[in-house]
Symmetry: C2
Subunit: 331 residues, 2 copies
Protein backbone atom coordinates (compact mmCIF):
# COMPACT_ATOMS: atom_id res chain seq x y z
CA UNK A 1 0.00 0.00 0.00
CA UNK A 2 2.47 2.59 1.17
CA UNK A 3 5.69 3.21 -0.65
CA UNK A 4 8.67 2.12 1.39
CA UNK A 5 12.37 2.15 0.97
CA UNK A 6 12.09 -1.38 -0.40
CA UNK A 7 10.00 -0.22 -3.31
CA UNK A 8 12.52 2.46 -4.08
CA UNK A 9 15.33 -0.08 -3.87
CA UNK A 10 13.54 -2.36 -6.31
CA UNK A 11 12.77 0.45 -8.74
CA UNK A 12 16.34 1.73 -8.64
CA UNK A 13 17.73 -1.78 -8.82
CA UNK A 14 19.89 -1.40 -5.75
CA UNK A 15 19.67 -2.53 -2.14
CA UNK A 16 17.82 -0.71 0.60
CA UNK A 17 21.16 0.09 2.21
CA UNK A 18 22.18 2.05 -0.84
CA UNK A 19 18.89 3.90 -0.94
CA UNK A 20 19.30 4.81 2.70
CA UNK A 21 22.80 6.04 2.05
CA UNK A 22 21.66 8.24 -0.80
CA UNK A 23 18.81 9.63 1.26
CA UNK A 24 21.19 10.54 4.03
CA UNK A 25 23.81 12.04 1.72
CA UNK A 26 26.53 9.64 2.67
CA UNK A 27 29.57 10.04 0.48
CA UNK A 28 30.43 6.42 -0.15
CA UNK A 29 28.01 5.86 -2.97
CA UNK A 30 28.51 6.11 -6.72
CA UNK A 31 27.16 8.90 -8.88
CA UNK A 32 25.24 6.36 -10.83
CA UNK A 33 23.47 4.96 -7.77
CA UNK A 34 22.60 8.45 -6.60
CA UNK A 35 20.96 9.20 -9.91
CA UNK A 36 19.04 5.95 -10.03
CA UNK A 37 17.78 6.33 -6.48
CA UNK A 38 16.76 9.94 -6.90
CA UNK A 39 14.86 9.10 -10.03
CA UNK A 40 13.04 6.26 -8.28
CA UNK A 41 12.21 8.52 -5.36
CA UNK A 42 10.72 11.08 -7.69
CA UNK A 43 8.88 8.54 -9.78
CA UNK A 44 7.28 6.88 -6.80
CA UNK A 45 6.72 10.05 -4.79
CA UNK A 46 8.47 8.42 -1.89
CA UNK A 47 9.13 10.08 1.42
CA UNK A 48 10.80 8.22 4.24
CA UNK A 49 8.78 7.02 7.20
CA UNK A 50 10.10 8.85 10.23
CA UNK A 51 8.71 6.27 12.61
CA UNK A 52 11.15 3.74 11.23
CA UNK A 53 13.99 6.18 11.10
CA UNK A 54 13.37 7.63 14.54
CA UNK A 55 13.07 4.20 16.08
CA UNK A 56 16.33 3.09 14.60
CA UNK A 57 18.15 6.28 15.48
CA UNK A 58 16.44 6.73 18.82
CA UNK A 59 15.99 10.40 18.18
CA UNK A 60 13.27 12.50 16.64
CA UNK A 61 14.80 15.95 16.25
CA UNK A 62 11.67 17.36 17.83
CA UNK A 63 11.30 19.39 21.00
CA UNK A 64 8.09 20.01 22.87
CA UNK A 65 7.17 23.51 24.02
CA UNK A 66 4.57 23.15 26.74
CA UNK A 67 2.58 26.32 27.36
CA UNK A 68 -0.61 27.07 29.28
CA UNK A 69 -2.69 28.60 26.52
CA UNK A 70 -1.84 30.46 23.34
CA UNK A 71 -3.70 33.42 24.78
CA UNK A 72 -0.68 35.05 26.40
CA UNK A 73 0.44 37.11 23.46
CA UNK A 74 4.01 37.53 24.57
CA UNK A 75 4.61 33.81 24.05
CA UNK A 76 4.84 34.61 20.40
CA UNK A 77 8.29 36.15 20.68
CA UNK A 78 9.50 33.44 23.01
CA UNK A 79 8.42 30.78 20.55
CA UNK A 80 10.07 32.65 17.69
CA UNK A 81 13.32 32.60 19.62
CA UNK A 82 12.92 28.91 20.31
CA UNK A 83 12.20 28.12 16.69
CA UNK A 84 15.14 30.09 15.39
CA UNK A 85 17.53 28.35 17.75
CA UNK A 86 16.01 24.96 16.99
CA UNK A 87 16.20 25.52 13.24
CA UNK A 88 19.95 25.96 13.12
CA UNK A 89 20.35 22.59 14.84
CA UNK A 90 17.81 20.87 12.61
CA UNK A 91 15.13 20.56 15.27
CA UNK A 92 11.42 21.35 15.08
CA UNK A 93 9.42 22.86 17.91
CA UNK A 94 6.05 21.34 18.67
CA UNK A 95 3.75 23.51 20.74
CA UNK A 96 1.27 21.94 23.04
CA UNK A 97 -1.10 23.49 25.61
CA UNK A 98 -1.87 22.26 29.10
CA UNK A 99 -4.81 24.61 29.55
CA UNK A 100 -3.32 25.22 32.97
CA UNK A 101 -4.09 21.71 34.07
CA UNK A 102 -1.37 19.75 35.89
CA UNK A 103 -2.83 16.40 34.93
CA UNK A 104 -2.88 17.27 31.28
CA UNK A 105 0.63 18.61 31.58
CA UNK A 106 1.72 15.19 32.80
CA UNK A 107 -0.09 13.55 29.92
CA UNK A 108 1.77 15.75 27.48
CA UNK A 109 5.08 14.97 29.12
CA UNK A 110 4.21 11.40 28.21
CA UNK A 111 5.44 12.28 24.73
CA UNK A 112 8.82 12.73 26.33
CA UNK A 113 8.74 9.50 28.32
CA UNK A 114 7.65 7.60 25.28
CA UNK A 115 10.38 9.12 23.14
CA UNK A 116 8.02 10.86 20.74
CA UNK A 117 10.16 13.96 21.29
CA UNK A 118 13.76 14.40 22.38
CA UNK A 119 13.20 17.08 24.98
CA UNK A 120 10.71 19.51 26.45
CA UNK A 121 10.56 23.11 27.57
CA UNK A 122 8.03 24.06 30.21
CA UNK A 123 6.84 27.64 29.87
CA UNK A 124 4.14 27.64 32.51
CA UNK A 125 4.60 24.59 34.73
CA UNK A 126 1.63 23.63 36.88
CA UNK A 127 3.19 20.43 38.18
CA UNK A 128 4.88 20.74 41.55
CA UNK A 129 8.59 21.35 41.52
CA UNK A 130 9.48 18.05 43.15
CA UNK A 131 7.86 16.14 40.29
CA UNK A 132 9.54 18.25 37.65
CA UNK A 133 12.87 18.05 39.36
CA UNK A 134 12.64 14.24 39.49
CA UNK A 135 11.71 14.04 35.83
CA UNK A 136 14.63 16.23 34.88
CA UNK A 137 16.96 13.54 36.19
CA UNK A 138 15.80 11.11 33.53
CA UNK A 139 14.75 13.37 30.70
CA UNK A 140 15.92 16.47 28.90
CA UNK A 141 13.73 19.18 30.35
CA UNK A 142 14.14 22.92 30.74
CA UNK A 143 12.06 25.72 32.19
CA UNK A 144 11.59 29.06 30.49
CA UNK A 145 9.98 32.30 31.75
CA UNK A 146 9.66 30.65 35.14
CA UNK A 147 11.95 28.97 37.61
CA UNK A 148 11.60 26.22 40.22
CA UNK A 149 12.18 26.64 43.92
CA UNK A 150 14.25 23.50 43.62
CA UNK A 151 17.05 24.68 41.42
CA UNK A 152 18.58 21.54 39.96
CA UNK A 153 17.10 22.03 36.54
CA UNK A 154 17.99 24.12 33.50
CA UNK A 155 16.12 27.43 33.70
CA UNK A 156 16.09 30.52 31.54
CA UNK A 157 14.12 33.39 32.98
CA UNK A 158 14.41 36.90 34.36
CA UNK A 159 14.84 37.89 37.98
CA UNK A 160 11.17 38.36 38.78
CA UNK A 161 11.76 39.12 42.43
CA UNK A 162 14.11 41.86 41.45
CA UNK A 163 11.68 43.18 38.87
CA UNK A 164 8.89 43.33 41.44
CA UNK A 165 11.25 45.14 43.74
CA UNK A 166 12.27 47.59 41.02
CA UNK A 167 8.71 48.45 40.07
CA UNK A 168 7.55 48.93 43.64
CA UNK A 169 10.61 50.95 44.54
CA UNK A 170 9.99 53.16 41.55
CA UNK A 171 6.42 53.83 42.62
CA UNK A 172 7.64 54.59 46.15
CA UNK A 173 10.22 56.97 44.76
CA UNK A 174 7.32 58.71 43.03
CA UNK A 175 5.97 59.46 46.48
CA UNK A 176 3.35 56.71 46.59
CA UNK A 177 2.59 55.21 49.98
CA UNK A 178 -0.35 52.88 49.35
CA UNK A 179 0.58 50.60 46.54
CA UNK A 180 -1.88 47.95 45.41
CA UNK A 181 -0.92 44.66 43.81
CA UNK A 182 -3.07 42.72 41.40
CA UNK A 183 -1.75 39.21 41.01
CA UNK A 184 -3.11 35.73 40.30
CA UNK A 185 -4.68 33.04 42.41
CA UNK A 186 -2.60 30.52 40.51
CA UNK A 187 0.69 30.57 42.36
CA UNK A 188 3.13 30.45 39.49
CA UNK A 189 6.67 31.01 40.65
CA UNK A 190 6.93 34.24 38.68
CA UNK A 191 3.85 35.64 40.40
CA UNK A 192 5.20 34.64 43.80
CA UNK A 193 8.58 36.14 43.00
CA UNK A 194 7.10 39.43 41.81
CA UNK A 195 4.99 39.59 44.93
CA UNK A 196 8.03 38.92 47.10
CA UNK A 197 9.87 41.72 45.37
CA UNK A 198 6.91 43.98 46.03
CA UNK A 199 7.02 43.13 49.75
CA UNK A 200 10.74 43.56 50.00
CA UNK A 201 10.52 47.02 48.46
CA UNK A 202 7.81 48.03 50.91
CA UNK A 203 9.86 46.79 53.82
CA UNK A 204 12.97 48.54 52.55
CA UNK A 205 11.00 51.80 52.49
CA UNK A 206 9.49 51.20 55.90
CA UNK A 207 5.96 50.93 54.52
CA UNK A 208 3.87 48.32 56.34
CA UNK A 209 2.46 45.50 54.24
CA UNK A 210 -1.32 45.61 54.00
CA UNK A 211 -2.96 42.43 52.76
CA UNK A 212 -6.08 44.35 51.79
CA UNK A 213 -4.08 45.97 49.01
CA UNK A 214 -3.38 42.64 47.31
CA UNK A 215 -5.97 41.23 44.92
CA UNK A 216 -5.77 37.63 43.71
CA UNK A 217 -7.48 37.05 40.36
CA UNK A 218 -6.98 35.41 36.98
CA UNK A 219 -4.81 36.21 34.00
CA UNK A 220 -7.35 38.06 31.87
CA UNK A 221 -8.49 41.61 31.24
CA UNK A 222 -11.69 41.40 33.23
CA UNK A 223 -9.81 40.15 36.26
CA UNK A 224 -7.83 43.39 36.19
CA UNK A 225 -11.05 45.36 36.01
CA UNK A 226 -12.52 43.54 38.99
CA UNK A 227 -9.27 43.89 40.91
CA UNK A 228 -9.18 47.63 40.40
CA UNK A 229 -12.81 47.96 41.38
CA UNK A 230 -12.17 46.03 44.57
CA UNK A 231 -9.09 48.00 45.52
CA UNK A 232 -10.77 51.34 44.80
CA UNK A 233 -13.67 50.47 47.05
CA UNK A 234 -11.39 50.25 50.09
CA UNK A 235 -11.71 52.86 52.78
CA UNK A 236 -8.17 53.95 52.22
CA UNK A 237 -7.69 53.62 48.51
CA UNK A 238 -4.39 52.85 46.79
CA UNK A 239 -2.49 55.62 45.03
CA UNK A 240 -0.73 53.20 42.69
CA UNK A 241 -1.42 49.73 41.34
CA UNK A 242 1.16 47.21 40.19
CA UNK A 243 -0.25 44.33 38.14
CA UNK A 244 1.75 41.23 37.34
CA UNK A 245 0.82 41.41 33.66
CA UNK A 246 -0.03 44.09 31.11
CA UNK A 247 -3.27 42.38 30.22
CA UNK A 248 -4.41 42.61 33.83
CA UNK A 249 -3.10 46.14 34.12
CA UNK A 250 -4.95 47.31 31.03
CA UNK A 251 -8.14 45.82 32.44
CA UNK A 252 -7.50 47.67 35.68
CA UNK A 253 -6.73 50.93 33.92
CA UNK A 254 -9.93 50.62 31.93
CA UNK A 255 -11.87 50.67 35.18
CA UNK A 256 -10.06 53.79 36.32
CA UNK A 257 -10.57 55.64 33.04
CA UNK A 258 -14.25 54.79 32.97
CA UNK A 259 -14.67 56.05 36.53
CA UNK A 260 -13.08 59.41 35.98
CA UNK A 261 -9.89 58.69 37.86
CA UNK A 262 -6.94 60.56 36.45
CA UNK A 263 -4.44 57.87 35.55
CA UNK A 264 -0.82 58.97 36.01
CA UNK A 265 -1.77 61.44 38.71
CA UNK A 266 -4.48 60.28 41.11
CA UNK A 267 -3.54 56.72 40.44
CA UNK A 268 -0.40 55.27 38.89
CA UNK A 269 -0.38 51.98 37.00
CA UNK A 270 2.50 49.63 36.34
CA UNK A 271 2.22 46.49 34.24
CA UNK A 272 4.47 43.66 33.19
CA UNK A 273 5.55 42.16 29.82
CA UNK A 274 5.46 45.15 27.48
CA UNK A 275 2.90 43.69 25.10
CA UNK A 276 1.90 45.56 21.97
CA UNK A 277 -1.35 46.79 23.45
CA UNK A 278 0.49 48.40 26.37
CA UNK A 279 1.58 51.38 24.31
CA UNK A 280 -1.38 51.67 21.98
CA UNK A 281 -3.84 53.30 24.31
CA UNK A 282 -3.95 56.56 26.14
CA UNK A 283 -2.71 56.65 28.79
CA UNK A 284 0.16 54.47 27.74
CA UNK A 285 1.13 51.86 30.26
CA UNK A 286 4.43 51.78 32.13
CA UNK A 287 5.68 48.24 32.21
CA UNK A 288 8.55 45.81 32.60
CA UNK A 289 10.16 44.64 29.42
CA UNK A 290 11.55 41.13 29.47
CA UNK A 291 13.69 39.71 26.67
CA UNK A 292 11.20 37.22 25.27
CA UNK A 293 12.95 36.30 22.06
CA UNK A 294 16.29 35.94 23.80
CA UNK A 295 14.90 33.75 26.55
CA UNK A 296 13.37 31.42 23.97
CA UNK A 297 16.53 31.30 21.93
CA UNK A 298 18.72 30.73 24.94
CA UNK A 299 16.68 27.94 26.48
CA UNK A 300 16.73 25.92 23.27
CA UNK A 301 20.43 26.43 22.73
CA UNK A 302 21.17 25.24 26.25
CA UNK A 303 18.74 22.35 26.02
CA UNK A 304 20.19 21.07 22.77
CA UNK A 305 23.65 21.41 24.22
CA UNK A 306 22.48 19.28 27.15
CA UNK A 307 21.27 16.60 24.78
CA UNK A 308 24.76 16.17 23.48
CA UNK A 309 26.44 15.67 26.82
CA UNK A 310 26.32 13.36 29.82
CA UNK A 311 26.93 16.16 32.25
CA UNK A 312 23.99 18.46 31.60
CA UNK A 313 23.97 22.08 32.61
CA UNK A 314 21.41 22.57 35.38
CA UNK A 315 21.98 26.25 35.94
CA UNK A 316 19.43 29.01 36.20
CA UNK A 317 20.05 31.88 33.79
CA UNK A 318 18.47 35.21 34.62
CA UNK A 319 18.43 37.57 31.66
CA UNK A 320 18.15 41.31 32.18
CA UNK A 321 14.81 43.10 32.33
CA UNK A 322 14.14 46.83 32.16
CA UNK A 323 11.48 49.29 33.24
CA UNK A 324 9.60 51.14 30.50
CA UNK A 325 8.19 54.40 31.81
CA UNK A 326 5.09 55.87 30.18
CA UNK A 327 2.08 58.01 30.95
CA UNK A 328 0.40 55.65 33.40
CA UNK A 329 3.05 56.58 35.95
CA UNK A 330 3.01 60.22 34.94
CA UNK A 331 6.18 59.95 32.87
Amino acid sequence: MNITIKDVAKAANVSVATVSRVLNNKNNVSEEAVRAVNRAVDDLGYSPNFLGRDLRKSETKRILAIIGTTEQSFYNDVLRGMQDAAYVEGYDILIVTTRDNAEHEMHLLGMLFSRAVDGAVLLAPRLDSKTISDLSKRYRIAICLERLDIDDILCVTIDNERAGFDVTSYLIAKGRKRIGLITTKVRSQSSVDRENGYRRALKAAGIPYDEKLVYYGDYDLSSGTRGCEELMSLDSKPDAIFSISDTISIGAMTYAVQHGITVGKDLLFFGFDNITYSHMFMPRLSTVDQPCYLQGKTVIEKLIANMKTDTPDKSTYMLPHSLILRESTGD
Copy 2:
Protein backbone atom coordinates in the same frame (compact mmCIF):
# COMPACT_ATOMS: atom_id res chain seq x y z
CA MET B 1 20.47 1.47 28.77
CA ASN B 2 16.80 2.27 28.30
CA ILE B 3 14.12 0.13 29.83
CA THR B 4 12.19 -1.76 27.18
CA ILE B 5 9.31 -4.13 27.16
CA LYS B 6 11.83 -6.97 27.31
CA ASP B 7 13.15 -5.83 30.65
CA VAL B 8 9.64 -5.70 32.00
CA ALA B 9 8.94 -9.17 30.66
CA LYS B 10 12.03 -10.55 32.34
CA ALA B 11 11.26 -8.86 35.65
CA ALA B 12 7.67 -10.07 35.60
CA ASN B 13 8.70 -13.51 34.43
CA VAL B 14 6.41 -13.50 31.43
CA SER B 15 6.82 -12.97 27.70
CA VAL B 16 6.81 -9.63 25.97
CA ALA B 17 3.49 -10.54 24.40
CA THR B 18 1.88 -10.74 27.81
CA VAL B 19 3.38 -7.45 28.85
CA SER B 20 2.04 -5.85 25.72
CA ARG B 21 -1.41 -7.28 26.38
CA VAL B 22 -1.46 -5.96 29.91
CA LEU B 23 -0.31 -2.55 28.76
CA ASN B 24 -3.09 -2.40 26.21
CA ASN B 25 -5.78 -3.70 28.56
CA LYS B 26 -6.59 -6.77 26.53
CA ASN B 27 -8.94 -9.07 28.38
CA ASN B 28 -7.35 -12.42 27.68
CA VAL B 29 -4.73 -12.26 30.39
CA SER B 30 -4.79 -13.61 33.94
CA GLU B 31 -5.17 -11.50 37.07
CA GLU B 32 -1.89 -12.83 38.24
CA ALA B 33 -0.02 -11.77 35.12
CA VAL B 34 -1.59 -8.33 35.28
CA ARG B 35 -0.32 -7.87 38.82
CA ALA B 36 3.16 -9.11 38.05
CA VAL B 37 3.47 -6.90 34.99
CA ASN B 38 2.14 -3.83 36.71
CA ARG B 39 4.53 -4.31 39.57
CA ALA B 40 7.45 -4.69 37.19
CA VAL B 41 6.37 -1.59 35.29
CA ASP B 42 6.29 0.41 38.52
CA ASP B 43 9.53 -1.00 39.82
CA LEU B 44 11.41 -0.25 36.65
CA GLY B 45 9.66 3.05 35.92
CA TYR B 46 8.93 1.79 32.45
CA SER B 47 6.97 3.68 29.86
CA PRO B 48 6.45 2.28 26.39
CA ASN B 49 8.39 3.64 23.47
CA PHE B 50 5.87 5.18 21.10
CA LEU B 51 8.23 4.98 18.18
CA GLY B 52 8.04 1.22 18.30
CA ARG B 53 4.34 1.18 18.93
CA ASP B 54 3.52 3.76 16.29
CA LEU B 55 5.65 2.04 13.70
CA ARG B 56 3.93 -1.25 14.27
CA LYS B 57 0.46 0.23 14.36
CA SER B 58 1.11 2.74 11.60
CA GLU B 59 -0.67 5.43 13.52
CA THR B 60 0.40 8.06 15.98
CA LYS B 61 -2.84 9.46 17.36
CA ARG B 62 -1.46 12.92 16.76
CA ILE B 63 -2.79 15.68 14.55
CA LEU B 64 -0.88 18.73 13.43
CA ALA B 65 -2.43 22.18 13.70
CA ILE B 66 -0.53 24.46 11.37
CA ILE B 67 -0.95 28.15 12.14
CA GLY B 68 0.83 31.30 11.03
CA THR B 69 1.86 32.69 14.38
CA THR B 70 0.45 32.37 17.89
CA GLU B 71 -0.10 36.12 17.81
CA GLN B 72 -3.65 36.02 16.52
CA SER B 73 -5.45 35.78 19.85
CA PHE B 74 -8.61 34.26 18.50
CA TYR B 75 -6.73 31.09 17.60
CA ASN B 76 -6.94 30.23 21.24
CA ASP B 77 -10.62 29.31 21.08
CA VAL B 78 -10.20 27.47 17.82
CA LEU B 79 -7.43 25.39 19.32
CA ARG B 80 -9.50 24.71 22.41
CA GLY B 81 -12.26 23.37 20.21
CA MET B 82 -9.77 21.24 18.31
CA GLN B 83 -8.29 19.83 21.49
CA ASP B 84 -11.63 18.99 23.02
CA ALA B 85 -12.73 17.13 19.93
CA ALA B 86 -9.38 15.38 19.66
CA TYR B 87 -9.40 14.37 23.29
CA VAL B 88 -12.59 12.35 23.10
CA GLU B 89 -11.06 10.30 20.30
CA GLY B 90 -7.74 9.87 22.06
CA TYR B 91 -5.78 12.20 19.82
CA ASP B 92 -3.34 14.95 20.73
CA ILE B 93 -3.04 18.23 18.86
CA LEU B 94 0.44 19.46 18.06
CA ILE B 95 0.65 23.12 17.18
CA VAL B 96 3.27 24.33 14.80
CA THR B 97 3.86 27.75 13.25
CA THR B 98 4.77 28.56 9.67
CA ARG B 99 5.57 32.18 10.45
CA ASP B 100 3.62 32.89 7.31
CA ASN B 101 6.22 31.25 5.15
CA ALA B 102 5.05 28.83 2.45
CA GLU B 103 8.37 27.02 2.33
CA HIS B 104 8.33 26.38 6.04
CA GLU B 105 4.72 25.29 5.79
CA MET B 106 5.82 22.63 3.33
CA HIS B 107 8.59 21.55 5.66
CA LEU B 108 6.08 21.13 8.47
CA LEU B 109 3.78 19.13 6.25
CA GLY B 110 6.75 16.80 5.96
CA MET B 111 5.67 15.47 9.33
CA LEU B 112 2.55 14.28 7.60
CA PHE B 113 4.34 12.71 4.65
CA SER B 114 6.73 10.95 6.95
CA ARG B 115 3.94 9.64 9.14
CA ALA B 116 5.01 11.49 12.25
CA VAL B 117 1.38 12.61 12.55
CA ASP B 118 -1.84 11.11 11.25
CA GLY B 119 -3.35 14.26 9.84
CA ALA B 120 -3.06 18.02 9.61
CA VAL B 121 -5.28 21.07 9.83
CA LEU B 122 -4.21 24.21 8.03
CA LEU B 123 -5.42 27.36 9.76
CA ALA B 124 -3.65 29.92 7.64
CA PRO B 125 -2.42 28.26 4.46
CA ARG B 126 0.22 30.12 2.50
CA LEU B 127 0.79 27.36 -0.03
CA ASP B 128 -1.13 27.74 -3.25
CA SER B 129 -4.40 25.90 -3.47
CA LYS B 130 -3.28 23.57 -6.25
CA THR B 131 -0.49 22.20 -4.06
CA ILE B 132 -2.76 21.75 -1.08
CA SER B 133 -5.46 20.18 -3.15
CA ASP B 134 -2.99 17.66 -4.56
CA LEU B 135 -1.67 16.78 -1.13
CA SER B 136 -5.17 16.23 0.15
CA LYS B 137 -5.52 13.37 -2.29
CA ARG B 138 -2.81 11.39 -0.52
CA TYR B 139 -3.01 12.65 3.03
CA ARG B 140 -5.61 13.54 5.64
CA ILE B 141 -5.71 17.31 5.49
CA ALA B 142 -8.38 19.85 6.39
CA ILE B 143 -8.63 23.62 6.28
CA CYS B 144 -10.09 25.69 9.07
CA LEU B 145 -10.97 29.41 9.23
CA GLU B 146 -10.13 29.62 5.57
CA ARG B 147 -11.19 27.92 2.39
CA LEU B 148 -9.59 27.07 -0.93
CA ASP B 149 -10.75 28.32 -4.29
CA ILE B 150 -10.41 24.70 -5.39
CA ASP B 151 -13.05 23.07 -3.25
CA ASP B 152 -12.16 19.39 -3.20
CA ILE B 153 -10.86 19.43 0.32
CA LEU B 154 -12.46 19.32 3.76
CA CYS B 155 -13.05 22.88 4.96
CA VAL B 156 -14.65 24.35 8.05
CA THR B 157 -15.04 28.10 7.97
CA ILE B 158 -17.60 30.87 7.88
CA ASP B 159 -19.02 32.59 4.83
CA ASN B 160 -16.53 35.43 4.73
CA GLU B 161 -17.92 36.91 1.55
CA ARG B 162 -21.33 37.09 3.10
CA ALA B 163 -19.92 38.58 6.29
CA GLY B 164 -18.14 41.30 4.32
CA PHE B 165 -21.40 41.95 2.53
CA ASP B 166 -23.35 42.10 5.78
CA VAL B 167 -20.98 44.55 7.43
CA THR B 168 -20.81 46.85 4.45
CA SER B 169 -24.56 46.73 3.92
CA TYR B 170 -25.07 47.62 7.56
CA LEU B 171 -22.82 50.64 7.27
CA ILE B 172 -24.66 51.69 4.11
CA ALA B 173 -27.97 51.29 5.92
CA LYS B 174 -26.57 53.67 8.51
CA GLY B 175 -26.39 56.24 5.75
CA ARG B 176 -22.69 55.96 5.01
CA LYS B 177 -21.58 56.56 1.45
CA ARG B 178 -17.80 56.52 1.59
CA ILE B 179 -16.77 53.33 3.25
CA GLY B 180 -13.08 52.59 3.66
CA LEU B 181 -11.62 49.10 3.85
CA ILE B 182 -8.43 48.18 5.67
CA THR B 183 -7.25 44.76 4.62
CA THR B 184 -3.99 42.88 4.23
CA LYS B 185 -1.36 42.70 1.54
CA VAL B 186 -1.21 38.97 2.13
CA ARG B 187 -4.02 37.63 0.01
CA SER B 188 -5.52 35.03 2.31
CA GLN B 189 -8.77 33.68 0.98
CA SER B 190 -10.70 35.10 3.92
CA SER B 191 -9.38 38.59 3.21
CA VAL B 192 -10.23 38.25 -0.45
CA ASP B 193 -13.71 36.97 0.37
CA ARG B 194 -14.41 39.77 2.83
CA GLU B 195 -13.25 42.27 0.27
CA ASN B 196 -15.48 40.73 -2.38
CA GLY B 197 -18.43 40.97 -0.02
CA TYR B 198 -17.58 44.62 0.54
CA ARG B 199 -17.62 45.26 -3.20
CA ARG B 200 -20.82 43.37 -3.76
CA ALA B 201 -22.59 45.41 -1.09
CA LEU B 202 -21.38 48.64 -2.63
CA LYS B 203 -22.58 47.56 -6.02
CA ALA B 204 -25.92 46.44 -4.64
CA ALA B 205 -26.36 49.91 -3.19
CA GLY B 206 -25.26 51.63 -6.34
CA ILE B 207 -22.16 53.10 -4.71
CA PRO B 208 -19.16 53.19 -7.05
CA TYR B 209 -16.08 51.30 -5.93
CA ASP B 210 -13.16 53.62 -5.17
CA GLU B 211 -9.78 51.94 -4.95
CA LYS B 212 -8.42 54.89 -2.98
CA LEU B 213 -10.61 53.80 -0.09
CA VAL B 214 -8.89 50.43 0.22
CA TYR B 215 -5.71 50.16 2.26
CA TYR B 216 -3.50 47.07 2.10
CA GLY B 217 -1.40 46.51 5.21
CA ASP B 218 -0.36 43.83 7.69
CA TYR B 219 -2.17 42.01 10.47
CA ASP B 220 -1.06 44.13 13.41
CA LEU B 221 -2.27 47.11 15.40
CA SER B 222 0.10 49.62 13.89
CA SER B 223 -0.97 48.66 10.41
CA GLY B 224 -4.50 49.73 11.36
CA THR B 225 -3.16 53.01 12.61
CA ARG B 226 -1.27 53.66 9.41
CA GLY B 227 -4.27 52.63 7.35
CA CYS B 228 -6.56 55.05 9.13
CA GLU B 229 -4.06 57.83 8.81
CA GLU B 230 -3.76 57.21 5.09
CA LEU B 231 -7.51 57.04 4.51
CA MET B 232 -8.15 60.18 6.58
CA SER B 233 -5.64 62.13 4.56
CA LEU B 234 -7.65 61.66 1.39
CA ASP B 235 -9.35 64.65 -0.15
CA SER B 236 -12.72 63.06 0.32
CA LYS B 237 -12.41 61.21 3.57
CA PRO B 238 -14.32 58.05 4.46
CA ASP B 239 -17.28 58.23 6.83
CA ALA B 240 -16.87 54.59 7.90
CA ILE B 241 -14.02 52.10 8.00
CA PHE B 242 -14.35 48.34 7.85
CA SER B 243 -11.23 46.43 8.89
CA ILE B 244 -10.78 42.74 8.29
CA SER B 245 -9.71 42.13 11.89
CA ASP B 246 -10.36 43.64 15.30
CA THR B 247 -6.68 44.10 15.93
CA ILE B 248 -6.39 46.23 12.83
CA SER B 249 -9.62 48.05 13.63
CA ILE B 250 -8.49 48.89 17.15
CA GLY B 251 -5.27 50.27 15.72
CA ALA B 252 -7.31 52.35 13.29
CA MET B 253 -9.69 53.57 15.97
CA THR B 254 -6.75 54.59 18.13
CA TYR B 255 -5.68 56.97 15.38
CA ALA B 256 -9.15 58.50 15.21
CA VAL B 257 -9.46 58.92 18.96
CA GLN B 258 -6.06 60.55 19.19
CA HIS B 259 -6.94 62.97 16.42
CA GLY B 260 -10.19 64.18 17.91
CA ILE B 261 -12.45 62.38 15.52
CA THR B 262 -15.76 61.38 17.10
CA VAL B 263 -15.95 57.65 16.64
CA GLY B 264 -19.48 56.37 16.15
CA LYS B 265 -20.59 59.65 14.64
CA ASP B 266 -18.07 61.34 12.36
CA LEU B 267 -16.55 58.02 11.60
CA LEU B 268 -17.91 54.53 12.12
CA PHE B 269 -15.67 51.51 12.70
CA PHE B 270 -16.38 47.86 12.10
CA GLY B 271 -13.97 45.07 12.96
CA PHE B 272 -13.87 41.32 12.64
CA ASP B 273 -13.37 38.43 15.10
CA ASN B 274 -14.85 39.78 18.34
CA ILE B 275 -11.64 39.45 20.34
CA THR B 276 -11.62 40.26 24.06
CA TYR B 277 -10.05 43.65 23.52
CA SER B 278 -12.82 44.69 21.16
CA HIS B 279 -15.28 45.41 23.98
CA MET B 280 -12.84 46.57 26.61
CA PHE B 281 -12.22 50.07 25.36
CA MET B 282 -14.34 53.08 24.81
CA PRO B 283 -15.69 53.34 22.26
CA ARG B 284 -16.44 49.66 22.09
CA LEU B 285 -15.93 48.12 18.69
CA SER B 286 -18.68 46.70 16.50
CA THR B 287 -17.49 43.48 15.00
CA VAL B 288 -18.28 40.14 13.41
CA ASP B 289 -18.43 37.21 15.75
CA GLN B 290 -17.36 33.91 14.28
CA PRO B 291 -17.80 30.62 16.11
CA CYS B 292 -14.14 29.90 16.83
CA TYR B 293 -14.54 27.07 19.28
CA LEU B 294 -17.13 25.37 17.12
CA GLN B 295 -15.06 25.63 13.97
CA GLY B 296 -12.12 24.01 15.74
CA LYS B 297 -14.25 21.28 17.20
CA THR B 298 -15.99 20.59 13.93
CA VAL B 299 -12.89 20.39 11.79
CA ILE B 300 -11.30 17.80 14.06
CA GLU B 301 -14.44 15.71 14.28
CA LYS B 302 -14.72 15.65 10.49
CA LEU B 303 -11.02 15.00 10.00
CA ILE B 304 -10.98 12.07 12.41
CA ALA B 305 -14.09 10.70 10.74
CA ASN B 306 -12.22 10.94 7.44
CA MET B 307 -9.36 8.94 8.87
CA LYS B 308 -11.67 6.04 9.48
CA THR B 309 -13.07 5.83 5.99
CA ASP B 310 -11.96 5.30 2.42
CA THR B 311 -14.45 7.78 1.07
CA PRO B 312 -13.46 10.96 2.81
CA ASP B 313 -15.78 13.91 3.15
CA LYS B 314 -14.43 16.79 1.06
CA SER B 315 -17.19 19.27 1.75
CA THR B 316 -16.91 22.88 2.78
CA TYR B 317 -18.85 23.68 5.93
CA MET B 318 -19.76 27.29 6.55
CA LEU B 319 -20.79 27.95 10.11
CA PRO B 320 -22.96 30.95 10.99
CA HIS B 321 -21.47 34.31 11.91
CA SER B 322 -23.21 37.29 13.48
CA LEU B 323 -22.79 41.04 13.69
CA ILE B 324 -22.12 42.51 17.12
CA LEU B 325 -23.18 46.15 17.24
CA ARG B 326 -21.46 48.48 19.69
CA GLU B 327 -20.53 52.12 20.12
CA SER B 328 -18.09 52.35 17.22
CA THR B 329 -21.06 52.30 14.85
CA GLY B 330 -23.13 54.52 17.09
CA ASP B 331 -25.17 51.64 18.50
